[in-house]
């Protein structure tokens, strides 16, 4: 690469530092009236093929990033967020009952569903509007997408565990009871930690007896 002459360097510096594109005359005026034609031509050629180009728009010259590098200036960054409890429930209901309308989702959940909740599921690409139900009011009905299946590693919706399996896994217990048991076991853990494990172990055993009685009863 041949070293640029001082005039070319000056034009380069002036255009680089300029806050606005400049005409040839403005550049020239800035440099004491020098003829900058050759310098501009040299620079254009020099920057051709680089990450930055010297371009002329109308009569105005300016540096800009090369067109094929434009995408670098806008970089996307993913922000991973966990689905809220409400959204998870909605998604589950849609998956198990699809296609369902919003009113149906609400009746299954037993609580109202905020509009944003379904939007989140659609933004995530797991739920889509699947037409309208032909009933009065023609409500929109929702269904899961192919992305949904692939995200959860399912071949098809039939791979979702059935109610019997859910029960066997203890997933059909009312929340309160599951909560209580959870709290109990935590309390026991804590007690064990604090050293008077003996007393609590006994208590636990009794509890278990009662529970196994319960279960026997239920299965009977």
């Amino acid at each position: 690469m041949s070293a640029p002459d001082d005039l070319t360097r000056a034009v380069e510096a002036v255009l680089f530092a300029a806050e606005n594109p400049m005409t040839r005359d403005e550049i020239s005026e800035h440099l004491g009236g020098a003829d900058v034609r050759d310098a501009l031509a040299d620079l254009s050629e020099h920057y051709d093929g680089r990450g930055v180009n010297l371009v002329k728009r109308g009569k105005l010259w300016h540096f800009q990033t090369a067109p094929d590098m434009a995408n670098l200036l806008r970089r996307e960054r993913e922000e991973v967020r966990r689905l809220s409890r409400a959204a998870t429930e909605c998604l589950a209901i849609i998956a198990y009952h699809e296609p369902v309308s919003r009113a149906e989702i609400e009746s299954i959940r037993g609580v109202q569903t905020a509009k944003g909740t379904l939007d989140v599921l659609m933004e995530a690409g797991w739920v889509r509007a699947a037409g309208r139900r032909e009933v009065p009011g023609r409500p929109v009905i929702y269904a899961t997408t192919a992305d949904f299946l692939s995200h959860f590693g399912l071949e098809s919706r039939r791979d979702l565990p059935g109610l019997a399996e859910l029960r066997a896994a203890g997933l059909l217990e009312p929340v309160e009871e599951a909560m209580e048991r959870e709290l109990d076991s935590r309390a026991t853990e804590n007690a064990a930690d604090s050293g008077d494990a003996g007393e609590h172990t006994e208590e636990e055993a009794t509890d278990d007896d009662v529970r196994s009685l319960d279960m026997g009863d239920e299965s009977a």
Partner: protein, 285 residues
């Protein structure tokens, strides 16, 4: 040693026009010119005195007038110059901050000590005091020169410029949602559980029925030879919940046996231990 005068005349406030770095090496002619001017217009010199940032600043300027390396400076000459400066300022009725006068007094002391014969010197010796002053002047001079060199560098926004109109880099945030299979399935389970029709079930409690209590008490009474307390009839290793039920049932059983004439009850005082024994034995006696 300079201490800090806290009135405005000591340190130059930052908004007072400062000597530009270029004039920093003391310009004797300019100084003399100022002094000449000041004879007509004392206020002018006042501004210059005010322009000094404390006595050390003046001392450094005076030291520079000796035009020798600061390491070879004559402290005695410097002291004389400073005292003369203070005198002149006094003649011109310039307001001098306490700092300047404290320094003058200290330098006068230093001078007399330096002139004394060595034997009479105390500790620290005047040579040490002079050396300390010299070292301080060297350090101030070094920093002043460093500052000038620093300010003379090619400074961004003054000598060199960044790109005038950068396109800017944008980072767009895109949300990606995350949900685990287990969370999904568990959520459904809980929805179903929450909304399932509620069925109430009474838990089976551990009880001792009246029948079993009756048979237990009567069989135990049959082999007993003396009064027995009611509690002795309870199953010994029962769980506390069962114990309560057993006590109640056994009490009712005891009453029933008494009613049937098979047992007799005794209680010494209210809420005292309830005792019972077989009636057969009573008949036998």
């Amino acid at each position: 040693m300079a201490g800090g005068g806290d009135d405005g005349a000591t340190g130059a406030p930052d908004d007072v026009p400062d000597l530009p770095p270029a004039t920093l090496p003391f310009d004797e002619e300019a100084w003399e010119a100022h002094v000449e001017d000041a004879r007509d217009d004392p206020a002018k010199l006042y501004i210059d005195v005010d322009g000094y940032e404390g006595p050390l600043d003046i001392l450094l300027d005076l030291a520079r007038r000796q035009k020798v390396d600061l390491r070879k400076i004559s402290i005695l000459e410097l002291v004389d110059q400073y005292l003369e400066f203070i005198d002149r300022a006094g003649e011109m009725k310039l307001e001098l901050a306490a700092d300047y006068l404290v320094m003058a007094a200290w330098l006068a002391y230093l001078k007399s000590a330096l002139l004394l014969p060595k034997e009479e010197q105390e500790d620290p010796s005047p040579e040490e005091l002079a050396l300390r002053l010299q070292l301080r002047l060297q350090r101030l001079a070094a920093m002043r020169e460093a500052a000038a060199r620093l300010m003379a560098r090619d400074r961004l926004g003054r000598d060199v410029f960044v790109r005038g109109a950068p396109e800017g880099l944008r980072v767009l945030k895109k949300r990606a949602w995350e949900c685990e299979w287990f969370d999904l399935v568990q959520a459904y389970g809980q929805v179903k559980a929450r909304t399932a029709p509620v069925v109430h079930m009474v838990r089976e409690r551990m009880v001792m029925t009246l029948e079993s209590a009756l048979s237990r008490v009567s069989s135990m009474l049959g082999v007993a030879i003396d009064w027995m307390e009611l509690r002795q009839f309870l199953p010994p290793h029962a769980d506390p919940k069962l114990k309560k039920s057993a006590l109640a049932s056994s009490f009712v059983a005891a009453l029933e046996l008494a009613k049937q004439g098979k047992a007799e009850l005794a209680q010494e005082e209210t809420f005292g231990p309830l005792r019972l024994r077989s009636m057969k034995r009573g008949e036998g006696e």
